[in-house]
Amino acid sequence: MDKARRAALNEAMRKVSEGDRSAIEPLARELWPLVRAFCHRMLSASSNGAVQSDDIAQEVLIELFERSCEFDCEGDVLSWAFAIAAYRCRSERKKHKRSPIVPLTEEIGESDDPISSPESFLEANELRAEFEEAVKQLSPKDKEVLDAILKGLPLNAVLRKRKERMVVKLRRLFEGVFR
C-alpha cells in the first residue's frame, strides 16, 4: 500500500477517534477488504476457513471502531487492525485445534450405502463390533475423554493428555484385533 493511501487511512481514523461520524463509513469500506484478506490468509488452512475468516474479519472491524477512542494519532491504523486480526485468528486456530469441526459426511462407522454388498456390510459390522469391544476395555476416564471428543467439546490440558494416552491404548487394542 502506498504512503499516501496509508496516511489517508490514519487521518480518517484520527477523525473517527475525535468524533467525526461521517468518516466511519468511508474508513470501514477501505479497511474491510484488507482485513478480510488478512484473516482469509491466516485461516485458509482450517477446514471451515472461508466462513471463519469472514466472521473474524467482521469482529475485528467492530472491535477496531469500538476502540477508536484509544487510537494514537502517531500510530498506524492498518498495523493496529492487523494486530487485532492476528490475535483473533490465532485464538480461533487454537480453538479449532482443541475441538475440530468434522463435516457431517465423515461420521465414523456409517457409510452412504451400508449394503453395497453383503461382504462390505459384514466387514463394517465386524469392525463396529471390534471397536465397541475395544472401547469396553478402556478405563472410565478414557471413556469420558472419548465421549468429549465425539461430542466435539473443548478439551482442557488434562483431558488432552488423557486423549493422547487413550489413542495409544486404542491403537494397541486394534492391533490386537487385526493380528
Binding site: G19, D20, I62, F65, R67
Partner: protein, 183 residues
C-alpha cells in the same frame, strides 16, 4: 453482493459499537465535572445546587461524546470552571468593602472577573479550533454552570455577569486569531 464489499448490517453493527464505546468513554472522561458535585456535597448539599453540579458533569460528558471542538472545549472548561467557582468564594469571604460611607459588594465584580479570566484562558488555548462555534458553546456553557454555583450571591446580575464575562473572555482570542494570526 460481492463479499469483498462492506454490507449495511455490518456497518450498522460498527456504528452501534462505536456509539456505545464513545458514550462509555465520555462518561469516564467527564469525571472532572463530578468534582463539582463532590464540592457542593461537602460545602452545602442543597438539591438545586447539586442539580447544577450534576448538570456540569452531564454537559462535560455530552460535549466529549459529541467530540471534535466541543469535546476539546469540555475537558479544558471543566478545569477552568474552578476559576470563577473559587474567585467568587474568595470574594464572598469579603462580603463588602466600605470606604467612607460607601460600601461595595465584591460578588458581582468577582463573577465578571472569574468568567472572563476562565473564558480568556479556554479561548486562548482553543483559538485555532476547527469549529469555533461549537467550542464557544461548550466552553461558555460549562464556565457559566461552574460560576453560577456562587454567583447567585449577586442574584440575576451575578448570573449575567458570569455569562457575559465567560463569553467575552472566550470569544476575544478567536477574534484576535482571525484578525491577526489566521492566514
Amino acid at each position: 453482493m460481492n463479499p469483498r464489499d462492506l454490507d449495511h448490517v455490518l456497518l450498522r453493527k460498527i456504528r452501534s459499537a462505536y456509539e456505545r464505546a464513545r458514550l462509555r468513554h465520555a462518561l469516564i472522561k467527564g469525571w472532572p465535572g463530578l468534582l463539582f458535585v463532590v464540592a457542593i456535597a461537602i460545602e452545602a448539599p442543597e438539591a438545586f445546587r447539586l442539580l447544577v453540579a450534576l448538570a456540569i458533569y452531564a454537559t462535560v460528558a455530552l460535549a466529549i461524546y459529541i467530540g471534535g471542538s466541543a469535546g476539546r472545549a469540555a475537558q479544558l472548561s471543566a478545569w477552568a470552571a474552578w476559576i470563577p467557582f473559587l474567585i467568587v468564594r474568595l470574594a464572598e469571604s469579603r462580603t463588602h468593602s466600605c470606604l467612607g460611607g460607601a460600601c461595595v459588594s465584591w460578588c458581582l465584580p468577582a463573577c465578571v472577573l472569574g468568567g472572563s479570566s476562565a473564558g480568556g484562558l479556554v479561548g486562548w488555548l482553543g483559538r485555532k479550533a476547527d469549529d469555533p462555534f461549537a467550542y464557544l458553546i461548550a466552553s461558555v456553557g460549562i464556565l457559566f454552570l461552574g460560576g453560577s454555583l456562587g454567583c447567585e450571591c449577586a442574584g440575576l446580575s451575578g448570573l449575567i455577569g458570569i455569562a457575559g464575562g465567560a463569553l467575552l473572555g472566550a470569544s476575544t482570542p478567536f477574534l484576535v486569531h482571525k484578525r491577526f494570526e489566521a492566514p
